[in-house]
C-alpha cells in the first residue's frame, strides 16, 4: 500500500482521543521550499492504530509560531517599524497543525466505530484511494457526480442508495443546483439496459433543461433520442381522471356537501358516457340538467367549474399521453416556462404527479424519478401559502418509496420547503448556502450534519457540494463534474448574453 506521510500526532489538552486528533504537519522546510499546501480542511487522512486503520477528516488547520505568541513582545519589537522577520528568524518557527475527526476504522472492508484513540507520535498519512473510496461508501458504478474534493477519487453513488428515499438538492441561487441536476440526468440517461433504466420527469420551471436534448453539447454529447420536451401550453389534464376530491383540491372553498353532490354527478355522467371521455363542458351541462340538486349548491359548483375551465387546462384526454412517454431510459422535460400563473403551474404539477403515481402504482410505467425545480413553490411549508400540489408531493414523499417513485427536490429556499417532504429525503446534496435561516433549518432537519459541516456549507464554491445521507456512509464533499451536454442560455453569463444581443441589433440595422 502506497502511503504518503503527512505528519505526526501530537498531544493536546484533550487529545488524541476517539473524537479528536491533532497532528503537526510534516517536514516544514520541504513545504516552504516547494510552496505547496500539504493538507486542506476537508481532506481525509489515515492512521495506523491498534484497532486498525483509522480514517479521519480534517476539520481545522492552524498555524503557530512561538515568536508571535506573545502579543506585547511582538508589539514592542515592531514599534520601530522594522519587519519582525528582519529581527528574528520567524520562518523557522512556523508550524502547521491540523485537527481531524476520526470517522471510523476500516478493517478488511468493514467499517467500525473508533473505540480506542491512536497514540501520540503516530504517523498520519494520505489514505489509499481504494480504501478511502470503499470506506466512504462510493460504488464502482452508478451515478458519477464528480470527484471527492482534495482527492482524486471518483464520487460515484449507488443508484438505489441515492434514489430509494428521494434526494434534496439545496443551495442558494447560482450555486449550481440546476447544473448538478443536469449532471445527474446525464448519468441516469447514460445507463445501459442491463444496468436498469428508470424513467424520468423533469419539472423545469425556467425551461433550462432543454439543453440536454440539443445536439451541440460541450463534448458533443446529446440525449436527443431519449428526451421529449413538453411545453406547458400543450398540457391537457384528462377531466375523466378527476374525482370530485381532485376538483376540491383546486377549489379549496368547496364544502363536503358540494363534494358529495359533485361525486354523484360525475358518477352519473360516467355511466351515461359508457367510458367515452368528457370534459368540463360536459360536466357543466350534466350539472345544469341535474334535477335533484340544490340550487345554491349547483350555482357554487358551476362557479368553480367555470373558473377551472377558464384555465384551459382540462380536456377530454390527457396530453401528452404519459404512459407512452415514460419508458425506461426516457426522460420528459415538462417546460413550465411559458406558464406565468403559479396556481396553474401547481395544478399541472399536481395533476401530472397524481397521474404518474397511479401509473407507477399499477406498474404501467417503470420506476421513475421526478426532478422538481423551485420545489418550494410546489410544496411550501407555510400553511397560509396554499399550494395545490403540496398534498400529492407529500404523499409521494411519504409513499413513493414503496412504488419506486422517487423525487429529486431542488430548491434555493430550504426554509420554505415542506418539512414533511424535506425530512423524507434520504440524501441531501448541498451546494453553497449562506442564508442563516436556511442553515438553521437544515441543521434541524438532518441529524447527520455537525456544526463544522454546516459551517463548511457556507464556504463552498460554485460546483462544490456536500452529499449527506443514504447515498454515502459519511458526509462527503465533492466537486461536481463538468456536464457533457450543452448548458442553456441561463447558464451563460451576463456579459456573453449582452454581447450576443448587441450583435443581433447590429445585423438588423
Amino acid at each position: 500500500m502506497k502511503t504518503e506521510s503527512l505528519g505526526t500526532i501530537v498531544c493536546t489538552e484533550d487529545g488524541p482521543s476517539t473524537e479528536n486528533i491533532e497532528f503537526v504537519i510534516g517536514n516544514r522546510n520541504e513545504i516552504s521550499t516547494e510552496k505547496q499546501i500539504p493538507v486542506h480542511v476537508g481532506q481525509y487522512v489515515s492512521i495506523n492504530a491498534d484497532e486498525g486503520l483509522i480514517i479521519a477528516h480534517i476539520e481545522q488547520i492552524y498555524k503557530t509560531n512561538r515568536y508571535f505568541s506573545q502579543i506585547d513582545a511582538v508589539h514592542e519589537f515592531t514599534r520601530s517599524g522594522k519587519a519582525f522577520g528582519a529581527i528574528f528568524p520567524i520562518d523557522r518557527w512556523e508550524y502547521v497543525l491540523a485537527e481531524a475527526k476520526p470517522l471510523g476504522i476500516f478493517n478488511n472492508g468493514q467499517v467500525q466505530r473508533v473505540t480506542y484513540p491512536p497514540s501520540p507520535g503516530a504517523i498520519v498519512s494520505a489514505p489509499d484511494h481504494k480504501i478511502l473510496s470503499e470506506f466512504l461508501g462510493f460504488s464502482k458504478e452508478g451515478i458519477h457526480l464528480g470527484h471527492l474534493l482534495f482527492h482524486d477519487i471518483p464520487a460515484t453513488f449507488n443508484l438505489s442508495k441515492m434514489y430509494q428515499k428521494h434526494v434534496a438538492l439545496l443551495a442558494m441561487s447560482g450555486a449550481g443546483k440546476s447544473y448538478a441536476a443536469s449532471v445527474m440526468l446525464e448519468e441516469l440517461l447514460s445507463r445501459k439496459p442491463a444496468q436498469g433504466r428508470p424513467t424520468i420527469l423533469v419539472i423545469d420551471v425556467h425551461g433550462e433543461y432543454t439543453g440536454l436534448a440539443e445536439s451541440q453539447g460541450a463534448k458533443g454529447k446529446t440525449f436527443e433520442d431519449q428526451i421529449t420536451v413538453i411545453r406547458s401550453p400543450l398540457v391537457e389534464i384528462a377531466t375523466p381522471r378527476m374525482s370530485a376530491k381532485a376538483f376540491a383540491t383546486y377549489s379549496p372553498d368547496m364544502g363536503t356537501i358540494q363534494v358529495r353532490e359533485l361525486t354523484r354527478i360525475i358518477r352519473t355522467l360516467r355511466t351515461a358516457r359508457k367510458g367515452q371521455p368528457y370534459d368540463i363542458g360536459d360536466l357543466t351541462i350534466a350539472l345544469e340538467q341535474d334535477p335533484s340538486i340544490n340550487v345554491r349548491t349547483r350555482e357554487a359548483l358551476l362557479g368553480w367549474l367555470d373558473n377551472l375551465q377558464s384555465l384551459r387546462l382540462f380536456g377530454k384526454t390527457s396530453t401528452p399521453e404519459w404512459s407512452k412517454l415514460m419508458k425506461p431510459g426516457q426522460a420528459v422535460i415538462l417546460d413550465l416556462s411559458e406558464t406565468v400563473s403559479l396556481q396553474k403551474k401547481q395544478i399541472i404539477v399536481d395533476a401530472v404527479l397524481r397521474h404518474l403515481f397511479d401509473l407507477r402504482r399499477d406498474g404501467t410505467i417503470p420506476p421513475a424519478i421526478v426532478f422538481l425545480e423551485e420545489a418550494h413553490q410546489f410544496c411550501p411549508e407555510a400553511r397560509r401559502a396554499l399550494a395545490f400540489s403540496k398534498g400529492i408531493l407529500e404523499t409521494v414523499a411519504r409513499e413513493g418509496r414503496k412504488y419506486n417513485l422517487s423525487l429529486c427536490i431542488i430548491s434555493q429556499r430550504p426554509v420554505r420547503l415542506s418539512t414533511t417532504v424535506l425530512s423524507q429525503c434520504g440524501t441531501n446534496i448541498f451546494l453553497r448556502i449562506t442564508n442563516p435561516y436556511d442553515l438553521d433549518h437544515i441543521r434541524a432537519t438532518s441529524e447527520k450534519i455537525t456544526k463544522a459541516t454546516l459551517t463548511s456549507i457556507s464556504s463552498l464554491t460554485v460546483g462544490e457540494a456536500l452529499v449527506v445521507g443514504q447515498a454515502t456512509r459519511f458526509p462527503v464533499f465533492i466537486q461536481v463534474r463538468e456536464r457533457a451536454t450543452k448548458e442553456t442560455a441561463f447558464g451563460e453569463d451576463f456579459e456573453t448574453v449582452t454581447r450576443r444581443y448587441d450583435k443581433k441589433g447590429k445585423k438588423t440595422d
Binding site: 512561538r66 513582545a73 514592542e76 520601530s80 522577520g85 528582519a86 529581527i87 528574528f88 528568524p89 523557522r92
Partner: protein, 389 residues
C-alpha cells in the same frame, strides 16, 4: 471587616519604601545629571596611573555608530539548566545551544541551530550525598561547562563575525566550590575551558563577547570613587559634587544603574580593564569575579526604557579600542529593536532554545521512578509533594 490593605498596614509600609527610594533617587539623579552634562568632555585623567590601570579610554560617554547588519553572521550561545533534587539522587539537566543569525541583504534573518534545532538535553545524575550549596555549585558548573564546550565546538562548524555568550567570560565567584569540595576539579576544568575558548576564537578570528543580563558589578563605581577627588580638583564644574554625599551614592549604586542615568541611547561607557585591582591602591579588592587582564568590559545603552547592556570582551593581544568599536557597532542595532528590552536578538533566540521547563521533564521523573520501581513519593522531596498545592 478590615481590608487586607488595612490589616497589613500596606499604606504605611509602601509609603516608607517609597520615601526611602525617593531620597536615594534624588541624590543619584542630582549626581548623575552633573556627570551627564560633562559625559563627553570630562577627561578621566589617563595620565594618572590609577586611571590608566583600569580604564582604556578617556570620556564617560562615547557615541556608537551602528553598523549595517546585512551580510553579517552572529552566533549566540546559551545554556539552560534544571536541577532536580530527588531523594538520594541529584539530577542535573543541561542544554546548551548555539543560534547563528545570518542577516541577509533582503532584510530577513535566517537562523542555523547548532548542534541542531531543539537540541535534546543532557542529563547527569550525582549519587553521592552532597550539601545544598555543593549541589547548586555543581549544577551551575555543569551548565557553564556545556555552554563553553559548545562555544568552542560551534566554531569548528560555523564561522561567524561575532560570538556572543549569554553571561560572563569568567566563572562567577559564587561558582567556586567550597574548599576541598569534590567539585574543585570541575571548577579547574572550566577555567581551562575558558582558556581554550580564548585560544580558539583567536585562531578562528572570531570576536568574542559575553553579555551579562543583570550585572551587579560596581567596578566602575569604585574606580570612579577613587578618581573623583582628582577630577574635582582639576574640573571646577564638578565642584558641585562636593555638596552631595557622592561617596555614599557611589557605594550604593550599581554600574548599570549609573550608566542608565548618564548614557543616552546609542552611547557606551568607557572601556574598563578587568585586571586585578592593585593591592596597594585604595580600591577594595573586588571579590565578585575572577580577573583577567585580557578581558575588558563596557556598558552600552541600546534601549530607552532598559538598563545598558554589560558586555565583557576578550581582546587578546589586540587593541581593545578597535575591537570594542566594532563590537558595539554590531551590538547596538541588534539590541535596539525593543525600547523596553535590551538584549541582542540572537541571544533572545538562543535563550528560548536552551531554556528548560520543569514541566517538560515530568515524564523523565515518572519514567525514572517507574524503572527503579519506586513510587514517585519516595523519589520526590516532601516539599514538592505538599498537599493542597
Amino acid at each position: 471587616m478590615k481590608t487586607i490593605s488595612e490589616l497589613w498596614a500596606l499604606d504605611e509600609t509602601i509609603q516608607k519604601i517609597v520615601e526611602q527610594i525617593q531620597v536615594i533617587e534624588e541624590k543619584r539623579n542630582a549626581f548623575a545629571s552633573i556627570i551627564h552634562s560633562v559625559r563627553h568632555s570630562l577627561d578621566l585623567q589617563l595620565d594618572l596611573p590609577l586611571a590608566q590601570q583600569y580604564i582604556v579610554d578617556g570620556a564617560i560617554a562615547h557615541t556608537v555608530k551602528p553598523t549595517d547588519l546585512s551580510g553579517l553572521r552572529v552566533c549566540g550561545v546559551d545554556g539552560g539548566l534544571l536541577k532536580k533534587t530527588l531523594r538520594g539522587i541529584e539530577l542535573v539537566i543541561t542544554r546548551a545551544n548555539a543560534t547563528i543569525f545570518e542577516y541577509t541583504p533582503a532584510n530577513r534573518v535566517s537562523a542555523i541551530y547548532f548542534p541542531e534545532k531543539m537540541t535534546p538535553p543532557t542529563i547527569k545524575a550525582e549519587l553521592t550525598p552532597i550539601s545544598w550549596r555543593e549541589a547548586e555549585v555543581n549544577a551551575s558548573l555543569e551548565r557553564l561547562k556545556a555552554e563553553i564546550e559548545l562555544a568552542i565546538r560551534v566554531q569548528d562548524h560555523h564561522s561567524t563575525e561575532l560570538l556572543l555568550l549569554d553571561g560572563s567570560l569568567r566563572p562567577h565567584i559564587s561558582d567556586r566550590p567550597p574548599n576541598k569540595s569534590v567539585f574543585s576539579s570541575k571548577y579547574d576544568k572550566i577555567k581551562a575551558l575558558y582558556e581554550e575558548l580564548f585560544v580558539k576564537t583567536e585562531e578562528t578570528g572570531t570576536l568574542l563577547a559575553g553579555v551579562i543580563k543583570d550585572s551587579r558589578s560596581q567596578r566602575f563605581m569604585r574606580i570612579f570613587g577613587e578618581l573623583l577627588p582628582h577630577l574635582i580638583n582639576r574640573n571646577p564644574e564638578l565642584k558641585r559634587l562636593l555638596e552631595l554625599d557622592y561617596r555614599t551614592i557611589l557605594k550604593t549604586s550599581y554600574d548599570t544603574d549609573f550608566f542608565f542615568r548618564v548614557l543616552d541611547v546609542g552611547e557606551r561607557s568607557p572601556i574598563l580593564r578587568l585586571n586585578d585591582f592593585n593591592s596597594t591602591s585604595n580600591v577594595e579588592s573586588n571579590t565578585d569575579t575572577q580577573l583577567d587582564s585580557r578581558l575588558v568590559c563596557f556598558y552600552l545603552r541600546t534601549a530607552k526604557y532598559d538598563y545598558p547592556l554589560c558586555v565583557e570582551v576578550f581582546t587578546g593581544s589586540y587593541d581593545p579600542l578597535r575591537i570594542i568599536e566594532k563590537i558595539s557597532a554590531m551590538l547596538l542595532p541588534m539590541s535596539s529593536d525593543n525600547e523596553e528590552f535590551a538584549l541582542p536578538a540572537v541571544l533572545i533566540d538562543a535563550d528560548s532554545q536552551a531554556r528548560l521547563i520543569e514541566r517538560d521533564l515530568d515524564f523523565l521523573f515518572a519514567q525514572l521512578a517507574n524503572r527503579i520501581g519506586y513510587p514517585q513519593s519516595l523519589l520526590k522531596l516532601r516539599r514538592e509533594r505538599m498537599p493542597f498545592h
